[in-house]
């Protein structure tokens, strides 16, 4: 009986993941507990919850593994700043202070704040953690593994062969040549926040054409050997803490978009931004396909496991499937740094402790790996807060919710354990009828207060997706975690079909989420289409809700119509008057 804990943090997206005999029993991002979006502090609360959930103490955990090598990262940072003396001055002053007071001492922090014996603390390698999170969570005995992100210690892109002997590192692309950092530089150029706005660039790209591919290729340059490099005169992420692109980029492509200024693709300026976004997306896809070809030639395998922040680019995942050399793709839902915690734990279990893989049962049973609250607790809460509510028989929840959706109401849906990863997959979701054309604007304007050009995603019952979406073979697993974009072959769902006729698809299997599947089936019975609009249950700038209290606080601050908390139904009007 062995417990292994994996941790990530101090940069973006802290998380804790607990394995029991190699199976994930608890996984959560710290932000769900601390309520700080992309919380990067040491994942203290997530760890506490994982142990409490399992009913164990830290003394029962064999190893606690940190997801990267902090000193090698320190080395890269110093070398880069010394090489860019003196313009790296302000980055040095700001960044180094944090290193000297926090990042260098992560082992001591783990020992002191989490109560771990020093001998049990291990360190994985950043890209290795990403690779392990994809490969060891996959159902494949053998696969090629590609990790692409901003930067780990030195590597920005790593190529592995995964097999019975473990993960074999075949090669890496080193800092400052980085697909992730270039994409982030363009994210900033297009007026969004780095490490938060990359999705928005993806959304914007659908409104444009890749007219600027040649210009973008001057920045992210393809190489003869299939890899890529970066012309550093256009970017400044390697020496500046607050600017990731240079004036030379603006001379190349025109003025940058001012943050917070609106986006209207019908204006000339708006079209230019959309075209640049589309060009960046295209060049990124080309670079990924090219490096995938290199990996395919080296391994000869036809399955690809993908991880790292860039794996969250679901449009690029489609390009990899349709244009790339691999027959199938696997990505786990927390492909970013939070997933590194899971990878660190899995790497420890299989490669440090030498345990074999058991491929008959899935490592990830479903997306719901976080904390759950039972109906008794929820009922007591609603009563204490004097919130009028209806208690439903558990087997009628799906039916009632489906009826609400079909009648045009927008639902908050809190069921079971909250999701692992940044997407809501039917445990902490906002649900609505995708057939209504006004639904998208209604939700954007009244509930999520997001930029109006951003699309919403559909959830569909497994087995029915072929009727509405063109899912390429080999992409089924991606669609399960909403990591794939597919063309929509019908006009029935205006609220979830993006400007370019695609949707970021979520296919729901009964085994992974029985209640949500039942809701979709019921919607299918009522409308003929088992599809709903699904977006994350949170307000702009806030992490996805986790507890019933947070759900209620968010519900009463939003324009949602109905809230389903377990088997309890709360209406917006008339249920709470303070």
């Amino acid at each position: 009986m062995s417990w292994v804990l994996g941790l990530s943090g101090l940069y973006h997206d802290s998380a804790a993941v607990l394995l029991h005999d190699g199976r994930v029993v608890a996984a959560a991002s710290e932000e769900r507990f601390s309520r700080v979006k992309h919380d990067a502090g040491l994942p203290v609360q997530a760890t506490r919850w994982c142990l409490a959930h399992a009913g164990i103490t830290m003394a029962d955990v064999t190893h606690v593994t940190w997801y990267e090598k902090p000193l090698r990262k320190f080395e890269r940072m110093l070398v880069s700043q010394v090489a860019n003396f003196p313009r790296s001055a302000s980055a040095f002053r700001r960044g180094t202070f944090n290193w000297l007071t926090e990042k260098l001492w992560v082992k001591a922090a783990i020992v002191k704040e989490l109560g771990v014996a020093p001998a049990r603390v291990l360190f994985s390698d950043h890209h290795q953690s990403h690779a392990a999170s994809a490969f060891y969570a996959s159902p494949y005995a053998e696969a090629a593994v590609l990790t692409v992100d901003g930067v780990g210690e030195w590597a920005t892109t790593s190529l592995y062969r995964g097999g019975p002997g473990g993960l074999e590192l075949l090669g890496e692309v080193l800092f400052p040549d980085s697909i992730g950092l270039v994409y982030s530089a363009f994210t900033a150029y297009l007026g969004f926040q780095v490490n938060d706005g990359e999705y928005k660039v993806m959304g914007m790209a659908a409104y444009g054409e890749p007219r600027f591919v040649d210009e973008v290729r001057k920045v992210l340059r393809p190489r003869e050997d299939g890899a890529f490099d970066v012309d550093l005169s256009y970017v400044s992420y390697h020496w500046s803490a607050d600017q990731s692109y240079t004036r030379r980029l603006e001379e190349l492509l025109g003025p940058a978009r001012f943050p917070g200024s609106g986006f209207d693709p019908t204006t000339a300026e708006g079209k230019r931004y959309a075209d640049i976004a589309a060009s960046v997306q295209r060049v990124t896809e080309d670079a990924l396909v090219a490096i995938a070809n290199v990996l395919h030639a080296r391994t000869g395998l036809d399955t690809l496991c993908l991880a790292g922040g860039v794996a969250l680019n679901s449009v690029a995942n489609r390009a990899l499937l349709t244009r790339g050399p691999f027959a199938r793709l696997f990505v786990q839902p927390a492909a970013g740094d939070a997933g590194g915690a899971m990878g660190a734990a899995l790497w420890t279990w299989h490669e440090v402790m030498g345990n074999p893989r058991t491929l008959d049962t899935p490592v990830l049973p479903g997306p719901g790996l976080g904390q759950a609250w039972d109906d008794a607790t929820i009922g007591a809460l609603l009563t204490d807060l004097r919130v009028k509510h209806e208690v439903l028989a558990p087997d009628t929840v799906a039916v009632r919710a489906a009826a609400d959706i079909v009648e045009g109401r927008v639902l908050g849906w809190v069921q079971g354990r909250f999701e692992w990863g940044p997407r809501a997959l039917g445990h902490r979701s906002i649900l609505a009828d995708p057939r209504r054309a006004d639904m998208k604007d209604r939700i954007n304007a009244r509930i999520k207060y997001r930029e109006l050009f951003r699309p919403f995603a559909p959830s569909v019952c497994a087995g029915a997706e072929g009727r509405y979406f063109d899912v390429p073979p080999g992409g089924e697993q991606l669609a399960e975690w909403m990591l794939l974009v597919a063309p929509v072959t019908t006009d029935d769902f205006p609220a979830t079909t993006h400007a370019d006729g695609t949707a970021r698809l979520h296919v729901v299997h009964a085994a992974a989420n029985p209640l949500y599947h039942a809701l979709l089936t019921e919607v299918g019975r009522l409308t003929g289409h088992p599809v709903v609009l699904n977006t994350s249950f949170n307000l702009k700038g806030e992490p996805i809700v986790s507890s019933p209290v947070q759900a209620l606080a968010t519900f009463f601050r939003s324009g949602l119509d109905v809230l389903y908390l377990g088997a309890h139904r709360v209406e917006q009007t008339g249920s709470y008057d303070g």
């Binding site: 320190f74 080395e75 000297l100 020992v111």
Partner: protein, 61 residues
């Protein structure tokens, strides 16, 4: 008290690892700056434990 000592010893371990890292990557020129910065880091972390004393300590520094 034993805990504080253990944590301090864990922190000291960083020096040894930095040395091995420089040896592996052959970047010996990094050693002087890493040593000084890590020492400063130790001082700053110590000060953070007693932040109310920092004005007095900095007056000395």
């Amino acid at each position: 008290m034993a805990d504080r000592l253990q944590t301090f010893l864990v922190r000291l371990g960083v020096f040894g690892e930095l040395w091995r890292m420089a040896a592996r990557s052959k970047r010996w020129w990094l050693v002087p700056m890493m040593v000084v910065l890590v020492l400063l880091g130790l001082v700053l972390t110590g000060l953070q434990a007693v932040p109310y004393l920092s004005p007095f300590i900095y007056a000395v520094l």
